[in-house]
Subunit: 647 residues, 2 copies
């Protein structure tokens, strides 16, 4: 068999028309999930129905809706409404916006999402991190105390741009940008943001009047401890009691998932208890701040409030893009997790269009940034929701509140809202996930902890930038410094594997078999040239020391080299020269189709000779052994168990 | 053999101490060429000598210097001096600096480089692209006509920071940053810069007094054609004649490399001819501008001229970093190419220290940015230089010129300098390389042409940013959208290969064998989950259509998966759920050591079961076939030639 050097040549793929391969690449990049597959071979009328169902999933599940579904959705909807009302008011305070905006934002956006969204479990509403980010970014431009009107209008404008950005990402199939926020960076970022949000609550829990406008740990601590004489014990005691109550109910529900409603109802219960307490004890006169009057009535229109003049517009655009992407990352991750549990499919790009549209419409109707927060969606899921109709039920409940019940919130103490925020935020500090990251992947842990530290000691934006930068750096570093391995033969098989991973793998005398573990691009071409040269040096040193057969062949296993660019091809030409100058022969094994195509076009295959390109390492070793034994003046006996003897 | 399910288990590498693997990663990242290898097992005194030789290579080659070397180096040195003097003056004009600076910069830096550089062929001097960049970046801050003193001082400061940046990149072993400028982007960038430089020369060739300060094509063309009535035919004729003369000599030397000195001497000849012509015809009074007086004497000190006050310092730092990295990219690429020809080794990081030091010292002695330009180094190489001593010879020749010959340049017409620049720049527009890129790699061509267009229609900085951004985007896109292939059995072998590349590869009934061609990171985890699901869908459709055996096993060949992060592991857990929900079994083949380690730590191996992890696809197929035939109620006959029958 050895005299037939190359029984199965490595195929050079036939040249493809440029447009065809371009089309293929574009499809894989922008339509990896092939959303148009169901449209194939359908009648025109059917296509219209499918398109409608694609953009408005309610057209798909609506006709199949049953009374049994309705019962479940009503229960789930009322449960999440009881959570949404106090949370909405709290988060609006966090964003330095009028509390009523939190209720507005839990009315219109859920209705839009119920029609357009493809998740059955997402419960739509405002989020703490988004609110905080908005407050910190808009606060740099406009002071919300001195100019509340402009601040409010900027918030609508930022929400509008966030929606436009989200919807365009979806329309242009750029959803993969969200993937650049890795899980590790989100864990760190969310934990940091939750910490910062908790720190902010010290203001109302301690009943302080003045407070720093910075959000970082150092500023807040300095602000808190510089005015110890202003701390109000009434407020602090109340706050601690409610936090304790909320945490206890959460712990209880966690132990027995059937009792999910205990923790879901706890915030509303706290609000009612707190309001009654203030109403009867007149605690508002003893340093316990209350919400005050909330306007009755549904969302007023706000289209005319959008600000399209610089310099405010630039701030709004910047804020919109940042909060838009953070909101998307949370909404889509939450939607995907629950879809995974219930075994249905979510189209990320479609979700982006839905979330984007709901924010655009929201910005026209006095709402600010909404998405699908994890805590509320989990309650929705546990409450047994069947379809997005639970969002409609929640919206109706919020609508009734807006129409008739707002005066009841007059005496709600701010400290209860802070307690609700703190207890929700503590759940976001996922230290267990951070420990898990440390155990499995140190680099992911580094990303996570950097994001956390960046948020807590710097600002939310700094943390975000650090997390994305380190994540991207890791990818670049992987490509810039690929691993190369020496391969050896696994005894009694034809397989060649990394000798470090498989200590029983045997070196083949006279040959150095290397595996390159990444595409060969400009970023790593010089490194690989240096590294291959060093492998050859080290192998020659080793051989000199042990007095074995001298090195004759350098075999490069290209299985893992997925692609190559022109710098990579130049690298190969240089390696070939280096190898030949030392009197060695370069042998390539199993280059993939892309690599083969390019090596062929660059005439490198002609240079090296097609006979030095093999399909498997086994064949290459057999052929080299044949050469060694035929042409060498004094061939030593092959001592290894591998290669030649096993073919 | 089939009943022994896993004859060679996939090894889980033993857990390594964290510090050890960290040390290994750091070494591979920062010391891939292992520069300390020669220091191992040496006496202390020998180590001192080696360190000295490391930082001052002249200590290594100096003692071995012979008279024969000297002869060659003197000839080469005089040749490059005759090129360096006119080019130096021209490029200083291009940087809007006093012409004498070009001579200063060809005196001190070459001396420093001769001591510290490890290239034997690099001829040190100023470069056109660096000069242009400096003019455009400093020109934004300070007008060189209204405030020449400050402009000059800023140029020294920028050179100082460029040197500091270059030397620190080398000292901190960060040389790989230069690798992020791919060959393709450099071709486009250099071509664009050369075009822009040529366009700038229209000013002196047409004898125009007023000229736009913008460098882009549109502004220059508008400026040139808006003042056609100011064109001076005397100047234009002179310019065209000299360009023609220079191009002819270059063509001549290219045809017969032995006559390299013809083109090397041509610029100096042009300068002498032009000066004589002006002197005798008094053409300076007929619209032919001349250099005017050049100060006699060596470089004055300029340490005290460095500007360390904002806002100027910020401009100088920014300019320094950009011109520093561009100069490095050119110098190192040139050094490497010639080292490749002559078969010696260049240490990139050491070169950076040498180039950086020479610029720092240069900034103290009235020099501006110097590096190793390609054209001059090629002349040096062709003239037969043996060591860096040719730079010393050139420096001495320039010194003599500075001391005695500067008055001779009084009548040198600017148009001759422009002709010299144009003829040098035309050689940098490497359209053949661009065609080569188009043929081999369309994406590299896109990078190249974007850089070119960015420079020509935008600015040099825009072109640079575009080129780097597209190059990095390509790397990110590669990782975000890895290829996945279906594998089939190559008849009569145990090898499994991509069925698209090898049309004769046979599908194995009941199994879907997929190869993933990239590390599994957060950027591609969701894509891969979608894509694998789609492969399974398509395979099931295909099977349904053809009425074959139903799908039973999904085999993932992980050979090319070099690494995985925690997002990747979650992806695997999800894929396992998806696969199992369809009643299929997931099988892994040949995970590498990094991947095995992490899958083990994340307990995924226990979840999937060690028996479903195989060393080769062949073994996995054999084991699956064994299961199919043993446990299936009605096993059909295996029709393929692959797998089972061949084991």
């Amino acid at each position: 068999m050895g005299n037939k050097e190359c029984p199965n040549g490595v195929a050079i793929p036939p040249p493809q028309p440029f447009m065809k391969s371009l089309k293929y690449s574009l499809k894989e990049t922008f339509f990896p999930d092939d959303p148009l597959r169901q449209f194939k071979n359908q009648a025109a009328s059917r296509k219209v129905v499918l398109t409608l169902q694609y953009f408005l999933p309610i057209c798909e599940w609506g006709p199949r809706y049953t009374l049994r579904f309705l019962k479940s959705d009503v229960i789930a909807g009322i449960t999440i409404a009881s959570l949404a009302i106090p949370q909405g008011i709290s988060y609006a305070k966090l964003a330095n916006l009028p509390p009523i905006l939190g209720l507005y934002s839990s009315f219109i956006p859920p209705l839009i999402y119920a029609m357009m969204g493809s998740s059955r479990d997402l419960a739509v509403g405002t989020v703490a991190v988004g609110s905080l980010l908005m407050a910190s970014m808009l606060g740099k431009e406009v002071n919300y105390i001195h100019n509340p009107q402009l601040y409010l209008h900027l918030a609508f404008t930022a929400t509008f741009f966030a929606g436009v950005f989200q919807a365009s990402l979806g329309l242009f199939r750029l959803g993969f940008i969200v993937d650049f926020l890795s899980h590790a960076s989100i864990v760190g970022f969310m934990g940091g943001a939750a910490t910062v949000v908790c720190l902010q609550q010290l203001k109302s829990i301690l009943g302080l009047e003045r407070f720093t406008h910075h959000a970082d740990l150092v500023s807040v601590m300095r602000s808190v401890f510089s005015q110890t004489h202003h701390w109000r014990w009434e407020s602090a005691v109340l706050g601690c009691c409610f936090i304790f109550f909320l945490l206890i109910t959460r712990y209880f529900s966690k132990q027995k998932p059937k009792l999910f409603w205990v923790s879901a109802m706890a915030p509303l219960t706290s609000v009612i208890l707190g309001s009654l307490l203030v109403y009867f004890t007149h605690a508002e006169k003893h340093g316990v701040q209350v919400i005050g009057e909330l306007k009755k009535g549904l969302n007023p229109a706000s289209v005319t409030d959008l600000v399209f003049v610089s310099p405010y517009m630039n701030t709004a655009i910047k804020t919109g893009i940042i909060i838009g992407i953070i909101a998307l990352a949370e909404g889509i991750a939450v939607g995907r997790s629950f879809a995974m549990f219930k075994n249905y499919h979510i189209d990320g790009n479609k979700e982006m269009i839905a979330i984007g549209t709901m924010n655009i419409v929201g910005s026209f109707t006095s709402c600010y940034l909404a998405t699908g927060p994890f805590s509320r969606s989990a309650v929705n899921y546990n409450a047994g929701c069947k379809t997005a109709a639970s969002n409609i039920v929640m919206a109706i409940a919020v609508m009734l509140t807006l129409l008739f019940l707002t005066p009841l919130f007059h005496y709600t103490p701010l400290v209860v809202l802070s307690a609700i925020i703190v207890s929700a935020m503590l759940g976001l500090i996922d230290y267990e996930a951070a420990i898990h990251l440390w155990k499995i992947d140190k680099f992911d842990f580094l990303v996570c902890i950097s994001a956390y530290i960046g948020v807590v000691f710097g600002s939310v934006e700094i943390g975000l930038v650090i997390a994305v930068a380190i994540s991207v750096l890791r990818v670049l570093l992987f490509v810039a410094r690929p691993r190369t391995f020496v391969l050896g033969n696994i005894p009694n098989t034809g397989a060649y594997r990394n000798v470090e991973q498989y200590p029983n793998a045997k070196h083949i005398p006279g040959m150095l078999i290397l595996e390159i573990d990444a595409p060969i691009y400009f970023t790593n071409a010089s490194y690989l040239r240096e590294r291959i040269t060093r492998w050859i040096d080290e192998e020659e040193d080793r051989i000199k020391a042990s007095g074995l057969n001298s090195l004759q062949y350098v075999i490069l296993d290209m299985t893992a080299v997925a692609n190559i660019d022109t710098s990579g091809i130049s690298m190969f030409e240089e390696v070939k020269k280096i190898v030949e100058r030392r009197g060695l022969q370069l042998v390539l094994v199993n280059p993939g189709s892309e690599v083969m195509k390019k090596l062929h076009k660059a005439k490198f295959l002609d240079e090296i000779g097609q006979r030095w390109v093999y399909l498997t390492v086994e064949e290459a070793v057999a052929a080299c052994n044949f050469m060694l034994h035929t042409y060498q003046p004094n061939p030593k006996k092959d001592e290894s168990g591998g290669g030649w003897n096993n073919v």
